[in-house]
């Protein structure tokens, strides 16, 4: 769990997860292109995300594809968010989104 929080503590890594959320299953090249970062920098961030199990990779032919893995985030949510709170929190999150517009945190 420490690794998940450490991985999420960096804005670039959250952006990488956002890119995969928008378009899952990208190659390293595709991720670099859209982020305007060097391969080396993106590779370093992806390594940390993979160590935290937030990004998983599979090979398809000669391509290594990166996928967002939301399972660790669910495990964190399930640890602290009970059954009955979930509905109320969704309403609050929706309200916040509407009042503040779709800005990223």
């Amino acid at each position: 769990m420490d690794e998940v929080f450490k991985a999420l503590a960096d804005p670039t890594r959250r952006t990488l997860l956002d890119r995969l959320f928008e378009n899952n299953g990208q190659t390293l090249g595709e991720l670099c292109e859209r982020l305007n970062m060097t391969r080396q920098a993106v590779t370093k961030h992806l390594k940390l995300l993979e160590a935290a199990n937030l990004v998983v990779t599979i090979w398809r032919g000669r391509e290594k594809l990166h996928y967002l893995n939301p399972v660790p985030i669910h495990e964190i949510a399930d640890r602290w968010i009970g059954k009955y709170e979930r509905g109320r929190l969704r309403v609050l999150a929706e309200l916040k989104k509407q009042l503040e517009g779709e800005t990223n945190g």
């Binding site: 899952n24 299953g25 998983v56 893995n69 985030i73 495990e75 399930d78 059954k83």
Partner: protein, 153 residues
Amino acid sequence: MANSRFVYVTYIRATPEKLWRALIEPEFTRRFWCETWQECEWKPGASWRIMIPDGRVADSGEVLEIELHRRLVLSWRNEFKPELREEGYSRLTYELEQQGESVKLTVIHEIDKPDSKLIEAVSSGWPHLLASLKSLLETGESLKETRRWPEGI
């Protein structure tokens, strides 16, 4: 992209044998998979289906590949929502890999068409089921929300 796919990974403190049983045996799936159970002979080419407690069939297909305690590939078509059923067969892969005292479970669900509604629908359910499966095997208790088939679905 010409296909739709998600890949989910979780690490569960269990043996591959126990996890394998949890994925296919009714006494486990009823507890972490919303009271559903699967009917299948678990051999290559066997037909396979998931049953909903009220008697409907949720999804069906056949066993495409089976390697005991290691790998299971199923074809998968939704049977109870017409807009999902019409997309036809998707493919579900489970891979189990021992890593120290845990098993790395990889779940890949994919279909050869872009923007699949089926993949979107199942992708929101899987993280919850996997968290519940992990909880069941590690603590003996599944997560509350996954113990009952949701009302009205």
